[in-house]
Subunit: 137 residues, 2 copies
Amino acid sequence: MTYSIGEFATIVGVNKSALRYYEMEGLITPLRNENNLRVFTDSDIGWVQFLLHLKASGMSMTELKNYTEWRAMGDKTIPERLDLLEQRKRLVELEIQALQQNLDILNRKIVFYKDQFEGNKYEFVLYPKDKEEIAKS
Amino acid sequence: MTYSIGEFATIVGVNKSALRYYEMEGLITPLRNENNLRVFTDSDIGWVQFLLHLKASGMSMTELKNYTEWRAMGDKTIPERLDLLEQRKRLVELEIQALQQNLDILNRKIVFYKDQFEGNKYEFVLYPKDKEEIAKS
DNA sequence: ACTTGCATTAAAGTTAACTTGAAGGCCTAT
DNA sequence: ATAGGCCTTCAAGTTAACTTTAATGCAAGT
């Protein structure tokens, strides 16, 4: 099965212009048909999806380019690719930790504000300003 | 205790120019001394550090500005601040989840490459290309 | 033949959040 | 009094990763 750039863009969820940009940067190398239109294949889907995961894990365009070049050079560059992946793994682990700490701080502030709100409500219930209201109730 | 912009920048770990930018955006309102120099106080430290946590949790300048304005308006805006914090909390939780999934994918690829590397080593040991080597050994 | 809808390239524009640069002022030590 | 080191404002520059625009072309349907 093959796909036009528009079809492929829909499948992988990436803007057509972004795909052209990725080609320009060497991340993908779609074939061309007799009219010079890009032709994408099923195996491109897997590759782009993997690239998107690397990207979502924080890799820069430069790193993605390196990885792609190494991949094109064959198995002898597996150590380089492993290094890059392991480095990224460590960075993602650190980022997750940092986010969790920030989440803690958000939670503490949320609890603080809620306590304050509950405190207000409670005070309102126990000590309404107009004491006549209590007498009437 | 009070601090010049340079001292304060060192304390909170933020570029002086960024602090000026934050003031321009209304996130901080340092006093000025008789020579028009900014004067920061200890309470500014806590506030900026909190802002930095919000920022590190992914809040945009616009959101930080909203939060800051609400804070300046007093307790009646606590619900708005709570909404913003809880929304951010949900987003951070989602981002942590996404990062963990990407970490899984990194790990799978790392294992895959390592297996391949081990596989090569193993094959080399078991089936050296030159069978004469075995005879000699 | 003409419109519609897809594609092409190359170049310029966008965005956020700063950062840098230029031109200058005030204070202190030599 | 001059040099160094801090500060000031305002404007312009930076960066990555696209996105948009302009000018064009091919091909299928009416």
